[in-house]
C-alpha cells in the first residue's frame, strides 16, 4: 500500500467562461521510503496537487488516500487528526510561529494532538538533535539563519511518526549549499521510511528524488525512469 495514492484527481476553479482546470486526471502513488519530485512551471498545478495531497483542499473529482484512508470519507475532525499525526508540511517561507522557540515550534503539532507536554518536548528535542540544532532549541525564529529556520521547519514536519512529508519549494530563497542541506534532510527522512513529495521548479532539488514527475497545464505529461547507479557515469575511460 502506498502512503499517498491519488487516482484521477481533478480540481476546477470557477464556472463557465471563467472555469480553470488547475489539475486534470492526476494519478500519483508515493510509497513509504521514496521521494517524488513534481516539476513544472508556475501555474502548472504543482501547489494545488500538494494542498490536495495534504487534505488542505478537496479535489473536484477523484480519490485521494493517505496512509490507507480515503480522504473524502473522513470528517473535518478526522482529516485534521490525520494532518496532525501523519502529514508534515514544509513551506518555502518556513511558516514558523515567531513567538515560539525552535523547540516549541517543533513540539506544537504534537501538543495540539494531545501528546503530554514532557513527552512532546522530548520528541521535539530529538528531532532538532537529528538535524544538528540541539544548541538552537531555545532560539526564536528571528534569531536563526534562513538555513536553520528551514531545518526547524523540517524537524517540525517529521516530528513524531509522520509518514508523509509534503514540501513546497523547500529551499526557498536559500543559497545552493543550504538548499542542498535541506534536500539531504528530506532524503534522510525518506531513508527512515517517510514518503515525500517535493514540488519545485528547480532541477537540482528535483534530482534528489527517486522519481521526478513533470506537470504541464494541470496534467502529468511525463516522468523519469529509475536511475541507474553512479557507476554508469564513472566508468573507466579508454586510458585505463
Amino acid at each position: 500500500m502506498s502512503t499517498l495514492e491519488m487516482r484521477r484527481v481533478s480540481r476546477t476553479y470557477g464556472r463557465g467562461a471563467a472555469e480553470v482546470h488547475a489539475l486534470c486526471d492526476i494519478d500519483l502513488s508515493v510509497d513509504a521510503g521514496t521521494m517524488v519530485a513534481v516539476m513544472g512551471p508556475s501555474g502548472s498545478g504543482k501547489s494545488t496537487l500538494l494542498t490536495i495531497a495534504g487534505s488542505l483542499e478537496d479535489p473536484s473529482t477523484g480519490e485521494v488516500r493517505v496512509c490507507g484512508q480515503e480522504l473524502s470519507t473522513l470528517s473535518r475532525n478526522a482529516k485534521a487528526r490525520l494532518r496532525r499525526r501523519s502529514i508534515g508540511y514544509v513551506f518555502q517561507d518556513f511558516n514558523l510561529l515567531p513567538g515560539l522557540t525552535a523547540a516549541e515550534n517543533v513540539t506544537l503539532p504534537l501538543e495540539l494532538d494531545g501528546v503530554p507536554a514532557r513527552k512532546a518536548r522530548a520528541a521535539g528535542l530529538e528531532a532538532l538533535d537529528e538535524l544538528g540544532l540541539t544548541d538552537r532549541a531555545a532560539s526564536f525564529p528571528d534569531q536563526l539563519s534562513g538555513g536553520e529556520r528551514q531545518r526547524v521547519a523540517i524537524a517540525r514536519a517529521v516530528v513524531g511518526d509522520r509518514q508523509l512529508l509534503l514540501a513546497d519549494e523547500p529551499s526557498g530563497a536559500l543559497d545552493s549549499v543550504n538548499g542542498e542541506g535541506v534536500m539531504r534532510l528530506i532524503h534522510a527522512a525518506c531513508k527512515r521510511g517517510v514518503a515525500a513529495v517535493v514540488v519545485t521548479h528547480d532541477a537540482q532539488l528535483a534530482s534528489w528524488a527517486d522519481r521526478v514527475v513533470f506537470l504541464r497545464d494541470g496534467r502529468v505529461t511525463d516522468q523519469t525512469v529509475p536511475v541507474p547507479g553512479p557507476e554508469s557515469l564513472l566508468t573507466p575511460g579508454p586510458g585505463q
Binding site: A17, A18, H187, A206, W208, F214, V227, L234, G237, G239
Partner: protein, 212 residues
C-alpha cells in the same frame, strides 16, 4: 580541459614520475576525466621542449623518469590560472539547434521535443546527485566536479524551461491585459494541443550559434 596546465599544477608541488602524474590527475579531478598514459608522456615531452619542465638528466624514458617544474613553467601556470577561458561566443550547441529545427518541422510538437530533452537531463542530474550523496561528501575534488556538472545541466534545463514558456506564449498570441482574454488564449492553446494543431511562431531575426 588543459592537461598541460594540470600537469604543471601537479609538478608545482614537487618532482614526480609520469605514472604518478596520471594517477594524481585522475584523483584530483574526481576520477571523472580519465587520462591516457601516452597522453601524459606526450604532454611532458612538449612541456620539456618548451622549457616549462625539466627531466632527470640520467633517467631513461619510462615510468621511472622524474620531472620537475621550471621557473618559466611556474610563471606559465600562474598566468593560466588567472586567464578566463573564452566564453564570449556562443557555442554551436546541438540541443539549441534541435529545438530551433523542431520549430520549423511541420507537425512537430516542439514542447514535446523539449520535454524529451528535459527528462533526459533531469535523469542525468539524478545520477550525479546519487554520486554526491554517496561518494562526494568526503572527496572535495569529486564534490566540485559533480557540482560543476549539476550546475551546467541545470542551466540547460532552465534554458529549456524558458524556451517552453516562450513558445507557449508565442503560440497563444500577443499578451492581453484583460484576464478574460488571457484565459481564452489558454483555452485556445489547450484546444490546439488536443487537436495537434500548432500556430505559427515568430520568425527568428538573428543567426545564432556562429563562432567568431
Amino acid at each position: 580541459m588543459s592537461v598541460r596546465h594540470a600537469l604543471l599544477a601537479l609538478l608545482s608541488e614537487g618532482p614526480k614520475y609520469g605514472l604518478q602524474l596520471r594517477e594524481e590527475f585522475e584523483a584530483r579531478t574526481g576520477e571523472v576525466w580519465p587520462l591516457n598514459v601516452g597522453q601524459v608522456y606526450t604532454t611532458l615531452q612538449r612541456l620539456e621542449r618548451d622549457g616549462l619542465v625539466e627531466s632527470d638528466d640520467d633517467g631513461q624514458d619510462g615510468p621511472q623518469k622524474g620531472f620537475r617544474i621550471t621557473t618559466a613553467g611556474a610563471t606559465e601556470l600562474a598566468g593560466w590560472l588567472r586567464t578566463p577561458p573564452d566564453m564570449s561566443s556562443p557555442p554551436r550547441d546541438e540541443l539549441v539547434m534541435k529545438v530551433l529545427v523542431a520549430l520549423r518541422v511541420p507537425g512537430t510538437d516542439v514542447r514535446d521535443v523539449i520535454q524529451v530533452h528535459r527528462r533526459y537531463l533531469v535523469q542525468l542530474m539524478q545520477q550525479w546527485t546519487r554520486i554526491k550523496e554517496t561518494e562526494a561528501e568526503s572527496d572535495i575534488s569529486l564534490a566540485l566536479v559533480v557540482d560543476a556538472e549539476l550546475f551546467r545541466l541545470d542551466a540547460v534545463v532552465r534554458w529549456l524551461d524558458a524556451a517552453d514558456g516562450r513558445i507557449k506564449r508565442a503560440a497563444a498570441g500577443p499578451p492581453q491585459a484583460d484576464q478574460a482574454h488571457t484565459d481564452q488564449a489558454h483555452t485556445d492553446q489547450a484546444q490546439a494541443d488536443k487537436t495537434g494543431t500548432t500556430q505559427a511562431v515568430p520568425r527568428l531575426r538573428r543567426r545564432v550559434g556562429a563562432r567568431k
